[in-house]
């Protein structure tokens, strides 16, 4: 089917179209994530709740209530059973996504300021969180104890995530640096970027763990090879100066980079050619978060206070 190997003509790009708008949050939506198996979609909001939707029919399944302040980030465990949410009330909460009542199983305390970003490791026995208190904390899922507290940056940590085998953590921060940490010991292994400006708003490993996608608040997305410390591709055209807009890889039908933008659109770039292939319009405020379904050509995007919706976009399959 569609393969982008050099030599053969890639099939014509089939644009994504808007499928549905999910309107259930009372304030800005801060994050959307598909579960790893693709059956559920989680959305977190400044209205202090997390909503779980079915990704088959987008019915609202649960509303997870418990945080006392807005929720900034949400992450799925790799068996899609648990969700962890990071909130401005300085805690992280682990919820059972499959239980009928949507109960909070655990609360992780320890940060002394807003918890901004969170992620599970592939084995899902560890959770990494980054906070406005400039530290990164690694927690054990089973007991909830904090295994490491790393004084990682000089300004709020905006993004943390594990690589494919859970041995490395990449973190980005407003202090302009992007660092790589050893997950087992908490020591810093490498600093990718060290300029004080622009701030790094998002960082994430590629699916094979060899590259890191880094977003900086100068309207740029860069793909770095972390072992050589050089960036290989840069993607521009969107607007990103203020918010920590998330971006992701789309690999279900050709390789793309998908990102939100402050001009209310979702941008898609071809990963090799770096050209923008599509701009999805429809939101009425900054698109702060995007997520790609693991199997189907589907993108979900979330927008801030002026819009408060989650929009689903699909790409019709080729013949």
């Amino acid at each position: 089917m569609a393969n982008m190997s050099s030599g053969s003509q890639p099939p014509p790009y089939e644009p994504y179209r808007h499928l549905k708008t999910l309107n259930a949050h009372e304030r800005a939506v801060s994050c959307v994530k598909f579960s790893i198996d693709g059956t559920l979609l989680a959305s977190a909001s400044l209205d202090k709740t997390v909503i779980i939707w079915s990704s088959a029919n987008f019915a609202l399944l649960h509303r997870l209530v418990g945080h006392s302040e807005g929720v900034s980030d949400v992450a799925w465990s790799y068996d899609s059973h648990y969700i962890c949410s990071a909130s401005d009330d300085r805690t992280l909460r682990i919820w059972d996504a499959l239980s009928p009542t949507g109960e909070c199983v655990k609360t992780l305390r320890g940060h002394s300021n807003f918890v901004f970003c969170v992620n599970f490791n592939p084995q899902s026995n560890l959770i990494v969180s980054g906070s406005f208190d400039e530290t990164i904390r690694i927690w054990e899922v089973k007991t909830g104890r904090c295994l490491h507290s790393i004084p990682a940056h000089a300004l709020p940590v905006t993004s943390v995530s594990f690589n494919r085998d859970g041995s490395l953590i990449v973190s980005g921060s407003h202090d302009g640096t992007c660092k790589i940490w050893d997950a087992a010991s908490g020591t810093c292994l490498k600093t990718l970027i060290e300029d004080k400006v622009p701030a790094v708003s998002f960082a994430k490993f590629s699916p094979n763990g060899k590259f890191i996608l880094v977003a900086t608040l100068n309207d740029t997305l860069k793909l770095w090879n972390y072992s050589t410390g050089k960036f290989l591709k840069s993607y521009i055209g969107h607007v990103n100066r203020v918010y920590c807009v998330t971006s992701t890889f789309s690999v279900t039908n050709g390789k793309y980079i998908v990102s939100g933008s402050e001009d209310h659109c979702v941008y898609l770039w071809d990963i090799q050619g770096k050209n923008m292939v599509q701009k999805l319009e429809g939101h009425s405020d900054t698109v702060i978060s995007v997520t790609c379904h693991p199997n189907v050509n589907m993108i979900a995007s979330a927008s801030l206070d002026g819009d408060r919706t989650v929009r689903i976009w699909v790409q019709d399959a080729h013949d």
């Binding site: 655990k106 400039e134 909830g144 940056h153 908490g186 410390g229 290989l232 390789k255």
Partner: protein
């Protein structure tokens, strides 16, 4: 993996105790193939599986029928099963994922060691009882096949090779060691006369014999993971390494071939001749000064290092040799005898079990790598003379700005293909490996009021450097000065991690930082944490330790 950016200059063997694990009295340990889980057999008959990444308990295998001490634990190749042998003469096979017993067999005598066949779904195991010949046990049927422990020709006292029960009339044997080779088609037996026998267990025949000089009882016999080297531990206080000359697969066929080439010899002589083509002595290790007996010797994961524990009571010493024969390190632990030892399959970590039932984890001493914080800097081992270019210091303003990347932005990037892990080349993806047990968060108990936890945290930790920087001016400054004492005991027997030793520069910077509020990301806080190891629900309250809920 993070191989490309780890500093290759640091030696590859552990140096200090990093942590200890406590849960009941543990007797024997075994890593799973990838080293993500550690199984420990306890004196109360249960087997604990530790998640080695989080250092917490992942699962507990407990059988109400078995309440006596476990003598050995062994993982199946892909980690789905564990074989446990206990002091009540039983062998129990467990399904790890479900935590259920699959089968239980009772033998004539307590097996000191039981090893599962190294194939993918083993139903056979090799058991070495306390004072009789090793046997192959079929775990499904319970039938046992006793292996020969000496050449049948020499007569007196040879174990009857038939499937009869062990008859009391024969000579009592001292414990005999045995192990499978890498693919499990041959068993290597080390008997009490100091001979290594190469046994085909299907035909119950001794195919070759390698006598060890000194002819003393062989206490342990073990293969390296790649099957290239064989280690024996003899009563003459020497550890010997043999190189395996047989091919890893088809060993039996090669033995047949060798047999044919060795004509004109009979009986013992023939076996010895064949034996000389199976194994050659490579190295001998001993401590000629203290002449200490060795306990639980084994190879490192890649076979580059050999470790042996000192069997002297009252001391916990681990000797590390490289394969060339040099003693590189002696690790000394607290004054408790060592009863078991294991090297992590992948990382330079050694785990030892002491007589008191604690598991000590030995790891490398981390020194902070400062070049990790500055991407353009490279740490040098010593001063290098720098010769500048002729025009290096010329004032040419245009060339200052050469920060443009010279990388070809048109190259293809591959974000999806995964590199094969070379350390595990023999994993034939036919069966899925069990690398970790799903972590199920244990539910919080209804929380005690906030006040309670705060006062608890203040009592327990006077030195909480886990707290983030912006709150206090100098948590790190104080803690860092303890760089010299690697292990600090805390009251209450809670588990403590050793502190990291900062590099020279780190200590300097710390001294400066004590005065100013810490803002830079360069400082490192030591990891003094009080955690309760055992996973019981009441332990959840203790995570309040790390709270510094100072609302200033």
């Amino acid at each position: 993996m993070n191989a490309p950016i780890i500093d290759p200059l640091q030696g590859d063997f552990p140096e200090v105790i990093e942590e200890y694990l406590e849960h009941g009295v543990m007797k024997c340990i075994a890593f799973n193939r990838r080293g993500t889980l550690l199984a420990a057999g306890c004196s109360d008959g249960s087997c604990i599986i530790w998640d080695f990444e989080t250092r917490g308990i992942a699962k507990e295998l407990r059988d109400k029928d078995c309440i006596v001490a476990i003598t050995s634990v062994c993982w199946s190749k892909y980690g789905h099963r564990i074989l446990v042998s206990a002091a009540d003469r039983s062998l129990t096979l467990w399904d790890v994922m479900k935590g259920e017993k699959i089968s239980r067999t009772t033998l004539q005598q307590t097996p000191l060691q039981a090893r599962l066949h190294p194939g993918s779904t083993p139903s056979l195991c090799l058991a070495c009882p306390l004072s009789s010949a090793p046997m192959i046990v079929d775990l499904n049927t319970g039938s046992t096949t006793v292996l020969p422990v000496s050449d049948p020709d020499t007569g007196n006292g040879a174990a009857p090779p038939s499937r009869n029960k062990f008859s009391d009339g024969s000579l009592p044997f001292t414990p005999t060691a045995a192990c499978f080779n890498k693919y499990g088609d041959i068993v290597y037996v080390g008997n009490s006369k100091g001979e290594i026998l190469v046994v085909d267990y299907k035909s119950i025949q001794v195919r070759a014999m390698v006598p060890i000089s000194g002819a003393t009882v062989i206490k342990n016999i073990v293969f390296s993971r790649n099957g290239q080297y064989l280690l024996t531990n003899s009563n003459d206080r020497t550890i010997r390494i043999y190189e395996n000359l047989l091919p890893l697969k088809d060993g039996l066929k090669t033995l047949d071939n060798i047999n044919e080439t060795v004509d004109g010899l009979d009986g013992v002589e023939k076996l010895k001749a064949v034996g000389s083509k199976c194994l050659t002595l490579f190295r001998e290790f001993q401590d000629s000064i203290t002449k200490v007996h060795w306990k639980a010797p084994c190879f490192s994961g890649d076979g580059e290092w050999v470790i042996g524990g000192s069997a002297s009571k009252g001391e916990h010493k681990i000797y590390i040799w490289d394969r060339a024969g040099h003693l590189v390190k002696i690790l000394e632990g607290p004054k408790e005898a060592l009863i078991d030892l294991a090297w992590h399959p992948v990382h330079p970590i050694v785990v030892s079990v002491s007589l008191t039932g604690l598991i000590y984890i030995w790891a490398k001493d981390y020194t902070e790598n400062w070049s990790a914080f500055a991407p353009d800097f490279k740490e040098l081992e010593e001063n290098e003379e720098y010769v500048e270019r002729e025009d290096e210091f010329d004032l040419i303003p245009e060339t200052e700005k050469v920060k443009e990347s010279d990388v070809n932005e048109d190259d293809e990037v591959d974000i999806v293909t995964v590199d094969k892990d070379s350390a595990f080349s023999d994993s034939d993806m036919s069966e899925e490996e069990l690398c970790f047990l799903p972590a199920i968060p244990s539910p919080d108990i209804p929380e005690a009021p906030e006040k309670c936890m705060e006062s608890l945290s203040k009592l327990v930790e006077s030195n909480n450097s886990g707290s983030p920087l912006s709150e206090e001016g100098e948590p790190n400054g104080r803690a860092m000065n303890h760089a010299s004492s690697p292990l600090e005991e805390d009251a209450g027997g809670t588990r403590v991690k050793r502190k990291r030793k900062p590099s020279e520069k780190g200590l300097e910077l710390q001294a400066e930082k004590v005065r100013k509020p810490l803002k830079s990301s360069g400082s490192r806080s030591s990891k003094l944490k009080n955690k309760s190891v055992v996973d019981h629900d009441t332990g959840n309250g203790l995570y309040g330790d790390d709270v510094s809920d100072d609302d200033n």
